[in-house]
Every structure is written in structure tokens, then in C-alpha cells.
């Protein structure tokens, strides 16, 4: 050591104390929230993504915390997805649709309370849907207004001119929107709110209407994702209330005032931030997680399943990998070319390398999942659809029929140019191997095919890209995300936007967004005659008898199967892994409805609300 006043060591010590390290530590310490008492076991740990969802539903709070809506908030009722428009009531006790389908009266469960003990009232529901008016969602459902009858009763009014099925409105109001606390959110409703909303629905050419619309737009902008922050210290009506968060985990503790609090057996929920799949894989391999919805590769799947108590269950999911075409781009505007390609793709092999776990290869490429096919079509109808099994001979015939020629260098188009395909996919797509397999299948047939990748920004708007001709052929998630055929065919023949738009006269109309597939309004389907797919699709959502609906679905399936706006390669499954180490799970064989996809709730939340899960030991 150097002695004396000049000691360099001492200087270093003194200076490092004011260094970067200390400074930043103090910033971290400054971040600390207040600690609250920890509840003890049983804690239910699960891995999931932390994306914020939807508009208005709680966004990141002003203090930066992100609350997962599905755990801390519940809707009025939970959709069963059995296809029969059935619901499990949650905050609502019951509801009644008027005979003309234009009034929905909801009776709240008097036991429903917020996490601070105050009751959930009709006013909370009112404010929740006011916010939907504010961002102009409610208007698109044809909702015209609401009336609070008493503390537990609220009536919703639908525009009688809107012709579509009232079940749609029911779904929006009962299931699709979590009820938010008026105490926290009413501050965002302007005083002149309703007058503006009413004025905005007036004569589109009137200046008052225009002014009101402008106001509405301003509000909606303020409330939309990029600008809106939820208030701090929210109260919750869900089974668990938000407690604390780190970047990797979140803790929710049981809400004792939750309407079905007695059913809730997990005192707390620990949510692991599933930034990437491997976070969930590690948790499952370590036996730390009770639940995860995660994709697998085969070795990981076998590694996870080799852990005792881990189980996997697959629910059908109405989406999958499809190859979509720009139907105005030569040669894909030729139905024969699309059909030939369908004959040339070995869907089974492609699925096996593309998405080996959690998918099923498509048996009949008619736009619907196998389950939907079984439900909506008779065996005879199903047999009449073309399964496009691998068949190079048929493909050859089809291609030759439109003037293509096979040479030593491969297939040549009538214009003399070689037939070459570039399959665009997301950069670093999980499906890469599957696409390569498809490419090699086509290559071996003589169609020069290569895989290429899009920029991530482009991937989010692939459908736009296909629509505008940026990508003649692209691969993407495709499907309605809903077992009801309407959503599938809406996407295929009308718009890829799942929330179709309704104009003032109640007609489904083309939105401002270009169509993915520029499907013609009438298609001549062999053996079926001329079909008007858009009319048929719209008809599916109007009040028609089930038998007519089924006939319409068949016609649409035949049309899709013939016209092939996209070639469905494989359908995905909603794979869920759960551990029975600490919890008993419902018996999915006895109650397949439980397997279906729930919109905003993580499945175990629903099982808990229904009282189907119990801690072991």
C-alpha cells in the first residue's frame, strides 16, 4: 500500500463511491413499490405472454405496471363455444333478449363485488360500454344506447335496422368485454358525451354530424392504445387482483370479494413472463409450472412429457398455416394453377417438419377445421369435397390445360417464361422447415420454388402485402380464430378483418382495407352452379334457420374447395400443458367444451371460476 496523503488507493475508493454503480443502484432502489403481505400456498404458477390486449381494456398503468386483463377482470359471462351460443354467467346473473332482438336486458349478480368490497353495479357496466362507444366499437355492433334501470339492471338497445343475428350483440356485451370500474374510468367520459354520440349517427352530410364525428374521433384517439394509460391503483372484479410485478414474473393474490370467490382455490397466481417459448419449457421441465400454453419441438415435447405429472391436451383451433395467393397476379389468377399446386403439396410431410407438435394436417382444404367439417357437413357432403390428395398426374393435367409446358428445365408458362414461385414467409419463421419441404416437393415436380423472407414489419401486414401485389404468394396464419364458419368465409371472401364492418343501413360492407383475396362476387362451381359467396357469407350471420345455414356452409365449403383462395396446409391446435403435481384438473374427455378456446380468459381461470380445480394434498 502507498502511504501518506497521496494514496492513490484512497482516491480511487473515494471516487468510485460516486461512480456509475452507486448512482444506478439508487435509481433501482427508487423504483421500489410498496410491499404487501404475501399470501402463502397454494400458488398457481403459469407461463404466458404479457401482451396488452384490445382498446380501452386496461393498458399499462401510469406507473408502468401491466395488468393481465384475463386474470384480474371478468366479463358479464363466459362464452362456451359449443356452437350453441351458450354462456356461463359470471358478473351477470341472467340476461334476456327481447323478442325482436333489439333489446338486451342484463341482470347483475348482486353478490358481484370489486376488490375493495363495493358492489359491481349497472353503472360500472354502463361506463365500460360508454368507453366502447368512445372508441367507436359499440357503434359498429349497431348499439345505439344503454339505460340503467336499477343498480343491478341495465338495458342495451340495438339499432333495429341492423339485420344481423342478435347473438353477435350478445357475444360482444356478455363475453367480449371485461367490466371495468366506473370509479376509475368514468373520469375519461366527457360531459357532452351522449349528445355527440347521437349527433354523430345523424345524416352523414350534415355539418353537425361531421363536427360530432370529428369530436368522436378526437376522443377515440385519446383512448386508443398509443395514447391511453390506465389510472394507477385499480380495483378488480376478477378472481385475483394484481399485487406486484418484476420484469420476469407477476403476482396476483386472491380477490376475496370475487363473485365466485368460494370456487377459487388458488390463493395467488404467479405469472411467468413467457417472452420466448424456452421460458415455459424450462419451467415445465423443472416442474415449476402448473400451466402453460406453449409450442414444442419434438425433443422438447418428449423431455417435458417425461416429467411426471406433466400432461398435454390439444384443443381444436380455427387457424393454421395456409398458402395464400394474390388472385389478380398471373398465373395465380388461374384456378387451375391453384388447384394444381394443391395437388402437388404433400400436406402431411410439410406439417411433420413445419409444426410437428400442436398441429394436424388439413384433410379437406375447404377453409374449415376438421371439427367444423364434422359438425356442419354431412358425411355425404364431406365426401363430395375434393381432398386434393397428392397427385402429380392431376396437377400435370391441370397445368397443361392452361397452356403450361413441361421441359427439361421445368415447367414453362404459356408466355415462355419459366414457372417460378417464391414463397414468402416470416423471417426466422418456425415454419421454415415446412416451407422448405413444400418448396422441395414443388421443385421435384419441376416448378422452381424458393423460400424468401419478409421484414417483420411486412409480416404484420402480410395480407396487405398479398393484396397489393407485394407478395404474389405468401404463407400466414389463416382462419377465423373461431369455429363458426362465418368467420372463415368472411376472411376468405369478404375481408380478412375479423371485425367486419356494418354500414348505417346495417349491411356488411367492404372496409377501407383491401381484400386479401380479391374474390369475385360470383363463382361458377362445377356441379353446383353459380355461387355468390359474399351474399352467402353475410347470410350466415343473419337470422336464418339452422338447416338453411348448414346448406349455406356446404355451398361455401364447396366454393372454397374449388376456388382455393388459399391452400390450407395444416391446422393448429390450442396445445396446453398442465401439471397435476399440485392441482387436480377437469376431466377433458368428459367435458370437451372445456377444451375450446376462450377469448379473453386463460383456460385455468375459467376452470377456477367454475370450481373445477382443486389443490392436491
Amino acid at each position: 500500500m502507498i502511504n501518506g496523503k497521496d494514496s492513490i488507493l484512497r482516491r480511487i475508493a473515494a471516487l468510485s463511491s460516486v461512480g456509475v454503480l452507486t448512482g444506478s443502484m439508487s435509481i433501482i432502489f427508487g423504483l421500489g413499490g410498496t410491499a404487501s403481505a404475501q399470501s402463502t400456498a397454494p400458488t398457481l404458477a403459469y407461463a404466458g405472454g404479457w401482451a396488452t390486449n384490445g382498446i380501452v381494456n386496461p393498458q399499462p398503468q401510469a406507473n408502468g405496471n401491466i395488468v393481465q386483463t384475463g386474470i384480474a377482470y371478468v366479463p358479464l359471462a363466459i362464452y362456451k363455444y359449443t356452437g350453441n351460443y351458450d354462456y356461463w354467467p359470471v358478473l351477470a346473473k341472467s340476461w334476456r333478449l327481447s323478442d325482436n332482438g333489439n333489446e338486451l336486458t342484463v341482470y347483475l349478480n348482486p353478490k358481484a363485488k370489486w376488490s375493495n368490497g363495493t358492489p359491481v353495479t349497472a353503472n360500472d357496466v354502463y361506463v365500460t360500454f360508454e368507453l366502447q362507444f368512445m372508441v367507436q366499437n359499440a357503434q359498429s355492433w349497431g348499439l345505439t344506447g344503454m339505460k340503467v334501470v336499477n343498480q343491478h339492471t341495465i338495458v342495451f338497445y340495438k339499432n333495429p335496422k341492423y339485420l344481423y343475428s342478435p347473438v353477435f350483440l350478445e357475444q360482444q356485451i356478455l363475453n367480449n368485454n371485461n367490466i371495468l370500474p366506473a370509479a376509475d374510468f368514468s373520469q375519461f367520459i366527457p360531459k357532452n358525451f351522449w349528445s355527440v354520440v347521437h349527433a354523430a349517427s345523424g345524416n352523414p352530410k350534415a355539418s353537425t354530424t361531421k363536427a360530432a364525428l370529428a369530436d368522436l374521433e378526437k376522443w377515440s384517439l385519446k383512448m386508443e392504445g398509443y395514447n391511453f394509460r390506465s389510472p394507477q391503483n385499480l380495483i378488480y372484479d376478477g378472481p385475483w387482483s394484481f399485487s406486484r410485478t418484476s420484469s420476469a414474473e407477476q403476482l396476483y393474490i386472491k380477490n376475496p370479494y370475487f363473485v365466485f370467490a368460494k370456487n377459487i382455490t388458488a390463493n395467488s397466481v404467479l405469472a411467468i413472463n413467457q417472452t420466448t417459448n424456452d421460458v415455459a419449457w424450462r419451467g415445465l421441465e423443472n416442474g415449476q409450472l402448473a400451466y402453460a400454453a406453449v409450442a414444442y419441438s419434438p425433443p422438447v415435447y418428449s423431455a417435458v412429457m417425461s416429467v411426471h405429472d406433466n400432461h398435454y391436451v390439444a384443443a381444436p383451433q380455427s387457424t393454421g398455416m395456409s398458402i395464400m395467393f394474390n388472385e389478380s397476379d398471373y398465373p395465380y389468377n388461374l384456378v387451375q394453377v391453384r388447384q394444381a399446386l394443391a395437388y402437388l403439396i404433400n400436406r402431411h410431410d410439410a406439417r411433420k417438419v413445419g409444426e410437428p407438435i400442436g398441429s394436424v394436417s388439413v384433410k379437406i382444404p375447404d377453409g374449415m377445421t376438421q371439427e367444423a367439417n364434422d359438425q356442419w357437413l354431412t358425411p355425404a357432403q364431406r365426401a363430395s369435397l375434393n381432398p386434393y390428395n397428392y397427385n402429380p398426374a392431376k396437377a400435370t393435367a391441370l397445368l397443361k390445360s392452361v397452356g403450361f409446358k413441361k421441359t427439361s428445365k421445368g415447367w414453362i408458362m404459356p408466355n415462355g417464361k419459366p414457372f417460378e414461385i417464391t414463397l414468402y414467409a416470416e423471417n426466422y419463421s418456425d415454419w421454415d422447415a415446412g416451407l422448405q419441404e413444400i418448396a422441395s416437393q414443388l421443385n421435384s415436380f419441376g416448378i422452381k420454388t424458393q423460400e424468401d423472407f419478409m421484414d417483420p414489419t411486412e409480416y404484420y401486414s402480410t395480407t396487405d402485402g398479398v393484396g397489393t401485389g407485394r407478395f404474389p404468394v405468401a404463407t400466414r396464419w389463416w382462419g377465423g380464430w373461431n369455429p363458426e364458419p362465418f368467420y372463415t368465409y368472411n376472411q376468405a371472401f369478404i375481408t380478412d378483418d375479423q371485425n367486419f364492418t356494418v354500414n348505417n343501413s346495417g349491411q356488411l360492407v367492404r372496409g377501407p382495407k383491401p381484400y386479401v383475396v380479391d374474390a369475385p362476387t360470383s363463382i361458377s362451381v362445377p356441379g353446383l352452379g353459380v355461387i355468390h359467396p359474399q351474399e352467402l357469407t353475410i347470410q350466415l350471420e343473419t337470422n336464418i334457420p339452422l338447416s338453411v345455414e348448414k346448406e349455406d356452409v356446404y355451398k361455401l365449403a364447396r366454393t372454397y374447395d374449388y376456388w382455393l383462395p388459399a391452400i390450407d396446409v395444416w391446422n393448429q391446435e390450442a396445445g396446453r400443458t398442465y401439471s397435476t403435481q399440485n392441482w387436480t384438473w377437469p376431466n377433458f374427455q368428459n367435458n370437451p367444451a372445456l377444451l375450446n378456446q376462450f377469448t379473453y380468459q386463460t383456460p385455468f381461470v375459467v376452470y377456477q371460476i367454475l370450481g373445477l380445480m382443486h389443490p392436491k394434498g
Binding site: W281, E285, S297, P298, P299, V300, F453
Partner: protein
Amino acid sequence: MRTFWHILRKRKMRIVGVVLLLMFVFMAIFGPIIYPHQPAIHPNEIYLPPSWHHLLGTDYAGRNILPQIVLGARNVLFVAALAALFTVGIGTLIGLAAGYLGPIVDSILMRFTDMVLTIPSIVLILILAITIGMSNDVIMAGILSFAGWGGMARAIRSMVLSIRERSFVEVSQGLGMSRTYVIVKEILPNLLPYIVVHLMLALTGAVYGEVGLFFLGVVPFKADNWGVMLNFATGGSGAMYSTRSLMFLISPILAIVLLQTGIVLCTDVVNELVDPRLRNTVGGYQANGRRRQRRTSVGRISVGGRVRSSSN
């Protein structure tokens, strides 16, 4: 050639390094001849263990891993070598210009260099990679060269400044030689050892950056790159989580580690090869122009006829 062997033999690790680097260069040159195409997908041969057919096993799509490594070597080495050349070229040019062309050029160039140096190179590369895009290997190499040219330019500049002050430059100017002559014939040869050694260092830097970009998955997918393999191994295919698939994780890691090790060990060889002063020294001349007395050259000093060993 004899000196080369001599240098090699001095340390065993150097032989290892040269063999490793030669192996990868061989792969890069002849790989596409041995394996003309990317290995095919075999849906029924997923994650096979190493065997005679598949020396490194197969990946998540049943592809043979070895050809992927071999074919990856060309892409990795080509882009990295190009990037290293760019790095060294830009660095040398800017360093020479700043050091030789006077204080105004110097201060402009060095402010710019300082700024680039302050920005973390990987961050800069990331931003450039996605704004400019990496449509081909040359552009990619150009972007990657941002990783190192700043440091290179600074070093070259300070060397030029010090060489410029050495009197042989003044003498040469005094003899009426042109600027070009002085730069090319007097200054550049003195920088050459540094430039060549830095070329090797820039190579490791470029491999790091290039493979890293593919590992992060931010630049367009390229089937034959180790970074992509590593990305899929750690991410989508989760090769880390099962011993069955471990070869897919280990192969690219091993390839990267061995290549970098090879380059590093060869840097040592190159260093000695290009700098004769490290090899054999007559007189006490050292690179920095200072003369030092060699304390070890005379082991014995005879005093008054009696011999004593001297030591400190």
C-alpha cells in the same frame, strides 16, 4: 517458408491454430463442391444421433447437420473476410488521411471517428442492418465493418502522427519526394505489420458481428449460416432441452469457437511473421522508435580477468 515453420514450431498451440483455420478455409472453398446443395429435409429422420451417415446427427427437420456447418463456413468466412478488409481499408485510409493531411482534415475526421467509436458497435450495426437492410453479402460486410474501423483509424492515425515525426519521413520529404511517395513508400510499409495483424483481429470481430446478427434474428434469414442454426437451436427447436437434440446446439457453437480460436492463434503467428523485429533482433531497434538497452545480451562480464556471473 522456413521462418514460417520456425515460428510455428515455437509454440504447439500455433500449429493447432493454423490447422483449425486451414480447415475452415478448406470448408469455405471446397464445401460447396462436397455438398452442392443444402441438405434435404427428411420428415422421418428428425434428430438422429451422430452416425456414419450423419457425422453430427440431424436437425429438427431431419437434415444432416455436417453439411450445414460446412456450407455455413463459406458464408461466415466470406462475409467476415470482406468485412475485415473493409474495416482495415477504411480504417487505414481515414487514419492515413487524418494523420498526414494536416490538422483541419485531422480534426474533422477524428471528431467523426470519436463519435462512431462512442456508439456501441453492435448497437450501431443492429440499427444499420435494419434500416439499410442486408440485401447482399457486400452490403452486409460494409455494415459489419462499422464494428472496427474507428479504433483502427485512431490507431493508424496516431501511428502516422508518430511516424511523421520520425526523421526518416522528414528526410524523405527533404529529399524532395512527393506526398504520395512518402505515404506509400515510407509510411505505409511501417504500418503494414499492424495492418495485417489488425486484419486478423477484424476478422474475429466480423465473425462475432455477423453470426450474432443472425443469432438475434434481426437480419434476413440465410439458410447457411451458423448464427441461424444457433438461433433455431436455442429458440424455435429448443435443442437445449433434450439430449436427443443436443448435437444441433453443440455443432454451431463448436464451429464458432473453433474458428475464432483458430483465427486468434493464427494472429500470433501472423504477428511474428510480418514483424521481423519480433523474430530476430540485431541492435536494439523497437517498433516505437525508442532504443532500449538489451539487458540480457551479455551474460558474462569479465572484471579483472575473473569471471563472475551477473544477475539482478
